[in-house]
């Protein structure tokens, strides 16, 4: 019994990363960042507006949050639509009450089919980023580069046309990518994306069409991960968000501006029994001194201008 000899080759065993997408860099070694008006902690509230097709293909996997039952899985289809009909309006009220500036990561298919919802977001003037075409349109290498390019172009261009915004941000469904996704995003005019959860601050990411900014959107603190995935109570989620805010604010006071990014789903936290918990977290964080309420694109621009 033995393994092939090449199992003991280590072709990337040298300084830096084992790929060439970005430079190795420790956060604590970087130049401190200053947010506008002397603020310390940028609050990025990211709201995915999602469409989960009933006729899900599930390639190469069933998207988390998608259909799990034999066709037609009406329970999950309708429960996800609940977020776009009911939960989102609870969110908007809460955002306005606490002065939050949300960023909406929207599936293009939802913008096509729900003009009322799209117009509601447009009228608020909040930033819209592209969340792919829909939740079952997963980006992965099995698509092939040309087909994936068409998917990216369709998703981004239709959303631009419908929203009237230039759409600079991207969040892949399930944060899944092919080896080509970053190149195709940059080629289609995307400036920042949030699929790589390897930092707490933005950094520049190489593509063959120029650089993207990787914007930090932590998976581990999002509502779905904590409440659906870990089965923690809503009260525990609130406590974790508040602890994260306290910690990052303290770090910001000694090491320069930080970002608290919270990804929250209207179909989850927008439920009647959960919305008060979201309000509690927003109330706490927005009451802290030094909070900068900002859209993701604004945070990126402020950061980039200091690099």
């Amino acid at each position: 019994m033995a393994l092939d000899k090449d199992y003991f080759d280590y072709p990337h065993r040298s300084y830096g990363m084992d790929h060439d997408r970005y430079e190795w860099s420790m956060l604590s070694d970087r130049k401190p960042v200053q947010w506008p008006d002397g603020n310390k902690l940028a609050l990025w509230v990211n709201v995915p507006l999602q469409f989960f097709p009933l006729n899900q293909k599930g390639e190469p996997f069933k998207v988390p949050g998608g259909m799990t039952m034999p066709y037609p899985d009406l329970r999950h289809f309708s429960l996800r639509q609940y977020g776009n009909r009911i939960g989102i309006f609870r969110f908007l009220k809460a955002f306005d009450k606490y002065g939050i500036k949300p960023t909406f990561a929207m599936n293009t298919r939802l913008a096509e089919t729900n003009p009322y919802l799209l117009n509601t977001i447009k009228d608020r003037g909040d930033e819209i980023s592209c969340h792919g075409y829909h939740m079952d349109a997963i980006h992965w290498s099995g698509l092939g580069k040309d087909a994936e390019n068409e998917l990216v172009a369709k998703s981004v261009n239709i959303l631009r046309e419908l929203s009237g915004q230039d759409i600079k941000g991207w969040l892949s469904p399930a944060k899944n990518e092919s080896a080509d996704t970053p190149d195709l995003l940059a080629a289609n005019g995307i400036e920042y994306f949030s699929d790589w959860v390897n930092d707490d601050m933005p950094y520049q990411f190489r593509t063959d069409s120029g650089e993207l900014t990787a914007m930090p959107l932590s998976t581990e603190i999002e509502d779905r991960f904590v409440i659906n995935g870990n089965m923690h109570s809503e009260d525990s989620w609130v406590e974790q968000v508040c602890d994260a805010a306290d910690f990052l604010l303290a770090e910001a006071n000694s090491q320069g501006g930080r970002i608290l990014s919270i990804n929250i789903h209207p179909w989850l936290m927008g439920q009647p029994h959960r919305i008060a918990k979201l309000e509690k977290a927003l109330d706490y964080v927005s009451s802290l001194d030094g909070i900068w309420h900002a859209h993701a694109g604004e945070i990126r621009e402020s950061w980039l201008s200091q690099q």
């Binding site: 019994m1 033995a2 393994l3 092939d4 090449d6 199992y7 003991f8 080759d9 280590y10 990337h12 065993r13 040298s14 300084y15 830096g16 990363m17 084992d18 790929h19 190795w24 860099s25 420790m26 956060l27 604590s28 070694d29 190469p60 996997f61 992965w140 290498s141 099995g142 944060k175 899944n176 990518e177 092919s178 080896a179 699929d195 790589w196 959860v197 390897n198 930092d199 707490d200 932590s218 998976t219 581990e220 603190i221 995935g229 870990n230 089965m231 923690h232 109570s233 525990s236 406590e239 974790q240 968000v241 602890d243 994260a244 805010a245 306290d246 910690f247 990052l248 770090e251 608290l260």
Partner: protein, 313 residues
């Protein structure tokens, strides 16, 4: 395949020879941060897939990179604050990839022990010679970059063969005599150090490295809340401290910078460290120091006691 690995004999917790830690401490307390490098595109192993998704498997890769870019410094500052020297379970390729982290640990006189070369290269399927070479590479790499004679082993990704512990101890002797290859963190059968049977007969000890206190087990497998993890650590300590009055116990917190260092988890971890180090009779130490102290003072008595108990009522 064997029914039992044969590393240790049954040794009941009651009436063992009394262990007294330095300065009358009841608990030997150590923290073992795993500092790991996972590859984005590792070669396939016939027995275990490195990632659940097709290439590029971003969720697992990127969060581990987060641990090195962001999490490491956070945990290190916390350990500094409470006077704890880390015992690093090291993917030794990290010496090449991220020497800045190695330097920070060296400045603090932290211990480095081998956790293989990459945590995406599994022992499964290796020949004895291949595994011996991999272990030797990892121990030589630690020596080259830190000057330390590697004392401990935690197999990469906890992937083992029937020869793992023998090979680690033998390579340690070849490279560093009695100073190298003297303890393992791979076994979870006890709350005190225990002698391990090896084919070489070398004095070799299992130093408890708790799976239950491991942050990845708490957060990924058991999926518990940060506050509950913090409470479990305190409860674990309380009982080991109480029992340590009779005979010294060991408490280990194995951590990962991509778990415990998240902003929403640091508070619970800090409260637990503050609680433990706030007690008087705690020996805050490292894996090597525990192993050496046990081998020098209690190994022979433990072996004699274990032998006397075999088959006895």
């Amino acid at each position: 395949m064997k029914e039992d690995p044969g590393y240790f004999d049954y040794w009941p917790y009651e009436n063992r020879p009394k262990i007294e830690w330095p300065n009358g401490a009841k608990v030997a307390f150590w923290v073992a941060p795993n500092i790991e490098f996972y590859e984005l595109n590792p070669p396939a192993n016939p027995h275990r897939a490195p990632w659940p998704q097709p290439y590029p498997a971003l969720p697992g890769y990127t969060v581990r990179d987060w641990g090195n870019r962001v999490g490491h410094t956070r945990q290190m500052e916390l350990l500094d604050k409470y006077g704890i020297r880390g015992s690093i379970s090291l993917s030794t390729a990290l010496c090449d990839h991220h020497p800045e982290i190695i330097e920070l640990c060296k400045e603090r006189n932290w211990e480095f022990f081998s956790h293989g070369i990459y945590n995406t290269r599994y022992t499964y399927g290796m020949s004895e010679e291949q595994e011996r070479d991999m272990i030797r590479d990892s121990m030589e790499t630690i020596f080259k970059h830190t000057g330390q004679k590697c004392a401990g082993y935690l197999a990469p990704a906890l992937s083992h063969s029937d020869h793992t512990l023998d090979l680690f101890a033998e390579v340690g002797t070849e490279l560093f005599g009695d100073e190298g290859g003297i303890y393992t963190c791979d076994l979870f059968h006890d709350d005190q150090p225990t002698p391990i049977h090896l084919r070489s007969g070398k004095k070799f000890v299992s130093v408890p490295y708790s799976l239950e206190m491991n942050d990845t087990i708490a957060y990924v497998v058991n999926k518990i809340e940060p506050q509950r993890y913090g409470q479990q650590i305190k409860d674990n300590f309380d009982r080991l401290y109480e029992e340590g009055a009779e005979s010294g116990t060991i408490m280990c917190i194995p951590t990962h910078n991509y778990q415990v260092s998240f902003p929403h988890r640091m508070k619970a971890y800090e409260e637990a460290l503050e609680y433990i180090t706030g007690h008087d009779d705690v020996w805050v130490t490292t894996g090597r120091e525990i192993a050496e102290y046990f081998i020098d003072n209690y190994y022979d008595a433990a072996t004699a006691d274990i032998d006397s108990r075999q088959g006895a009522a």
